[in-house]
Amino acid sequence: MTRVYKRGSYQEYFTKEHDMLRKAVREFVRNEIVPYVDEWEEAGETPMSLYHKAGELGYLAIGYPEEYGGVEGDVFDQIVMTEELCKCGSIGIPVSIGTHGIALPPVVAHGTHEQKEKFVRPVIEGKRKAALAITEPSGGSDVANLKTTAVRKGNHYVVNGNKTFITSGVDAAQFTCAVRTGEQGYRGISLLIVETGSPGFSVSKKLKKMGWWASDTAELFFDDCLVPVENLIGEENRGFYYQMENFQYERLTLALQANTISEMCLRECLNYVKEREAFGKTLSEFQVIRHKLAEMATLWEASREFTYRVAAKINAGLNQVKEVSMAKNFASTVSDRITYDAVQIFGGYGYMRGYLVERMFRDNRVLSIGGGTTEIMKEVISKMLLSESKH
């Protein structure tokens, strides 16, 4: 006897408006980015001209306050932007033009009106880039022990130290820097905005990486660097807390990048296995290949669904620190697996430069490292699980 359930409905995460934005961004990517991917990867940077174009279209301003040039939008508008830009086939490019997403939020949340006019508006309008400088050569995960100091002297802070792995470190005009103004540990950290051109500031090294080639990455050197006190964001010694507020967004973005990498690789494989022949049939007719594809697709679907669900809750204002950490871990574990399998399906070609899956394999690997390593995420998750389970 069959069952007849009362029919319900289901909700899409994306509305018609989101779909329209997606279409527009897809067109933008097709015209303004795709033809230049190889060139920009080789050059090791994404040109400012693209940044300006994106700025003019409002693509950099989604979700920022309208009084400073922002454009109204929700988390899913930002998701559309991230996904479609990643689909250009080089993760370095969206990372390069989207760096302000991790650099500006503390300024928006805790900055003065003057700071927002000076340091938010021109960035989201596409006129100058902003970068975040937290990590140091001696400490990434152990950020509470950072060593860069900022000593107040009259109208300036005198900053000394090094930062490394700074995304957009070469092209940025301003850096949201975590510096030590107080005691050891996380209670002595402040956020200062350092502009390039400040006396004592230099980009000491341009770093080449395994992937994300089109994203310029640098080491920064502060040698008695003078920073005006007006550039302090919020209160002294509150910087660590300000920075933590934005981790949700950053981790969500990384989960989305991972899922989009997975999606692109899956698509490449599905096309390839229908064309490539061996032993008298297409690869798609080999059971091992078919089952591999099934596993890849299942993992991607599950990751995507989980990420979107977490995003929807963030969009509704819920705290999702634990869940977004889970989403980042899961998505990058899935993309690790899918990029690996994709190279394998392409055989020798998967190992050759010029093939998308080869680049995705390299671009993907940093996702379980940057923005909080998988291991640190597991610390966050388990701490919250254990404290939540106390009654």
Partner: protein
């Protein structure tokens, strides 16, 4: 069971270790000069002869040391001596051995095996290069080969072609020894791989390439059997490559874990990091064990040696990718930037599951053997011949 190395094997190990100090890892760009120098150094301790000799475990012991220092040198050497050299040693005339093998043994030249084509990798019988016989008994080759290791510098090529399509793969394929300068041979620009970038690969094109009857290796139609017979040594060699890369990953990881501090202590003391090191260690030890088991089996002329060699390649190639992934994670950001040893090893490792037989092909080969071997009426019977799926 005595797992100790013999005195002779220990001598080979220390011999390679002593020249290891002079071997410079081939740079990823413009490395041809360094590679040539390394080949001369290892020829100085008779390493090419060792690859082709009776002491296969001895080859493994020395090869592991070389693969650890420079995977690219190891791979170029094995492709030259084993992939190209072994067929010549086994099936060549005295004249052919003198002309094509002697330079390799002396460290003065490269040989290149050319089997794979753009549309045929795993499916060797799918190649389309043909050799037609002229009235004077000469041969004319037409076709193109891809992913030919050592092609840019090789003095000679061992090329597989159809001499009798009607006869099928068992009797219709033939190997030809072709000089680089032969008319009708074109070598394309080197290809860009993801890793093993100290190795040079290129395409070979044959256009009405005419060669004499003395270019045939063995007899016309022998190609299939010849190729099958050399696979065990090739698989053991790739297994050694994987082992060496894995050992290097581990050594770098241990060094980093002991010297890098975070949260107040060297990171090696965190249980999670320690667990990764333990996994690496176990896989490396097991990998060495199965390689030696297969090598010893070959020395003893055991019929299961071929299958064991396949197992060795399969296991170590899968393991080295897991090991490289763990090593990358331990190094985190510092492992993702160029200049880091682990960054290069990660990309080198990825080739192991693809070249000289994908893991998928090896599993198919082992499966077929297993099915014929483990029938209900028989236990594991060592003298049962295994039919080969491919070539």
């Amino acid at each position: 069971m005595n797992y100790d190395l013999t005195d002779a094997q220990k001598a080979l190990q220390s011999s390679m270790r002593s020249v290891a100090r002079d071997i410079v890892e081939v740079p990823e760009e413009a490395g041809a000069g360094t590679l040539k120098k390394n080949m001369e150094i290892i020829a100085g301790i008779d390493y090419p002869s060792l690859i082709l000799g009776e002491d296969i475990v001895g080859y493994c012991v020395a090869g592991e040391e070389l693969a650890k220092i420079c995977p690219s040198t190891f791979f170029s050497a094995m492709s030259s001596a084993a992939a190209f050299g072994l067929p010549v040693r086994r099936f060549g005339t005295e004249e052919q051995k003198k002309r094509y093998l002697d330079p390799i043994l002396a460290g003065e030249g490269f040989g290149a095996l050319a089997v794979t084509e753009a549309t045929a990798g795993s499916d060797v019988a799918g190649i389309t290069t043909t050799a037609r016989r002229t009235d004077e008994g000469r041969w004319v080759l037409n076709g193109a080969k891809s992913f030919v290791t050592n092609a840019p510098a090789a003095g000679a090529f061992l090329v597989l072609a159809w001499t009798d399509k009607e006869a099928g793969k068992e009797k219709g394929l033939t190997f030809f020894l072709i000089d680089r300068q032969a008319r009708g041979v074109n070598i394309t620009e080197p290809g860009e791989m993801m890793g093993l970038r100290g190795v040079e690969i290129a395409e070979l094109q044959f256009s009405e390439c005419e060669i004499g009857p003395d270019a045939v290796l063995g007899k016309s139609g022998d190609g299939s059997g010849q190729l099958i017979s050399i696979m065990p040594l090739i698989w053991i060699s790739v297994a050694l490559l994987a082992l060496g890369i894995g050992i290097s990953c581990m050594e770098n990881s241990v060094f980093y874990a002991r010297s890098r501090t975070a949260f107040g202590k060297p990171i090696g003391y965190f249980e999670g990091v320690g667990a990764k090191l333990a996994i690496m260690f176990t896989m490396i030890d097991l990998g060495r064990m199965i390689i030696h088991r297969a090598a010893w089996g070959m020395e003893q002329r055991q019929s299961e040696a071929a299958i064991l060699a396949a197992c060795a390649k399969l296991f170590t190639s899968e393991s080295v990718n897991k090991i490289a992934d763990l090593a990358m994670q331990i190094h985190a950001g510092h492992g993702y930037v160029k200049g880091s040893k682990v960054e290069r090893l990660y990309r080198d490792a990825r080739a192991a599951e693809i070249l000289y037989g994908t893991s998928e092909m090896l599993r198919a080969y082992i499966a077929e053997d297993s099915l014929s071997r483990f029938s209900p009426e028989q236990n594991m019977m060592p003298d049962k011949e295994a039919r080969v799926l491919f070539a």
